[in-house]
Amino acid sequence: MRPRKLRSALGLTVLSLLGAAGATAELKLYVLDSARDSVTVIEVSTSRILGTITVGEQPHGVAAPKSQDVLWVTAEHADLLVKIDPTKDTVLARYPVGARPNEIDITSDGRLIYIPSMGDGVYEVFDTAAEKIIARIPTDGFPHNVVLSPDDRFAYLSPMDRGEYTVEQVQSVGLPVSLNEKLYIVDTRDQTALATVPLADAPRPIAVHPRGNRLFVNRDDLLGFEVIDLAERRVVATARYDLSREERATPSRSHGIGVTPDGNEVWSTDINNGVVHVFDVSAAEPRQIARLPTGRTPLWLTVSPDGTSVFVANTADDTISVFDVETKTERIRIQMEKGSAPKRHLVVDVPEGATRTGQ
């Protein structure tokens, strides 16, 4: 995930006063119901579920530009990119895109969206003004995740791959067969791949430091994460979770990572031990400072724009854990609809004029 600007305390106070007079900005958490065709909308201040938005089968990726006045979602099994108005929580448009679009990211100005097309083996670049794909960037493996640098200068592409599956098994379901053990760095000015960073195995979720100098990478074969120095374009550190004997022996993986907006902490999940691990990354070598129990199968993690909260989707429990960053405690666990399998989610600072879902 990309961090966003901290809201000033003064700004929060002004917005609170406006709230007494009429429509105000509000924080909303948009959670993709991966077993459904919908997005669940949660009011962050109260943890109340406001409603759902129908987008298309198996929503996978979500992103919003700096303006926060539009939300974009991919529906993987519908091959769609969906545009949503978060002030009304209504769908504005649906665009057909490549096969099996996965997690996305968007430039700060909202102009370009990077869409991993898992089925086609390319990352597509969608121009929101022209309303069409303007580039396709081929990679090895299965295009899966992407994060843009804070200055929009680079796109970091992290394709996963078939792992232990045979070529025949993967071909039979129409997926790319090549393996991938690297991160791609793309120049967003001309959509060309400038460089790759070798890794020990296929990368999974990634998060970029707010200063844009480091990238934190989950890998399937690592209970922890790697640290990439983006200037040197190489792995400079590996963080491993502090685990008990039982936890170390339990087959598990890391899938969900985020950086606080001050750049000091990385939070990263351990899916089968049901833990989120917190590391201090202010120094060159990450140092674990906390571990917090989550619900079952914590598959995604998001940090709020003001850095006060971390949200974790416990996919097997259909819950969202809300953690307080300062106290390192779970503030509340939000129960979503049973069977919805929440995964990726995003906190959006919806501008003034926000109304309730469905109004």
Binding site: G163, E164, Y165, P251, R253
Partner: protein
């Protein structure tokens, strides 16, 4: 998508195993045919498995020199099939072979997502991550979803009034 070996493998451990150092380790893992022995059998009371479809959870340790930890702690479920399905005892590992998420025993098959298609009208296993569905009547065979195979099976033996779970499919470690 990945197997357990990719999930937990350390390159040095793999090389050590390949060059025959595995056998020199203390308490080297014992294998018979396609199963690997648990470090200690897990005993379950037979009376807990009298009623069909009643799941009995258990955990078992296994040597796993191929992995970083050198051992694995596996979670499983044992259950008895109803008479119309043979009435036998089965034991399955609660790890999805797709991406090692923990699978759920779903007693009410109406909870299975509609997109999986028509399903048998008896309890099933469901992976909450990518919705693979497994049939406990058909030896854990995969019915839907991206899993490349059925659930890994434990081997068990009945001894008087107890059942011993004593081994797990070797394929889990590949």
């Amino acid at each position: 998508m990945m197997g357990l070996r990719t999930a937990l493998l350390d390159r040095r451990s793999l090389l050590a195993a390949l060059f025959g150092l595995f056998g020199a380790r203390t308490g080297a893992a014992q294998r018979t045919e396609d199963y690997r022995a648990l470090q200690e059998p897990v005993g379950l009371d037979l009376h807990r498995l009298r009623e069909p479809w009643r799941p009995v959870l258990f955990r078992g340790w296994c040597e796993a020199p191929e992995t970083v930890a050198g051992e694995m702690l596996l979670r499983g479920v044992a259950l008895r099939l109803p008479p119309e399905d043979g009435g036998g005892l089965k034991a399955y590992c609660l790890l999805c072979p797709h991406e090692i998420c923990g699978v759920d025993f779903v007693e009410d098959p109406s909870w299975i997502p509609k997109e999986a298609g028509p399903m048998p009208a008896h309890p099933l296993f469901l992976c909450p991550c990518h919705f693979s569905v497994f049939d406990p009547v058909a030896d854990g065979a995969v019915l839907a979803g991206p899993s490349p195979r059925g659930l890994y099976r434990f081997g068990l033996e009945a001894l008087d009034d107890r059942v011993q779970v004593n081994r797990v499919e070797e394929a889990l470690f590949r």
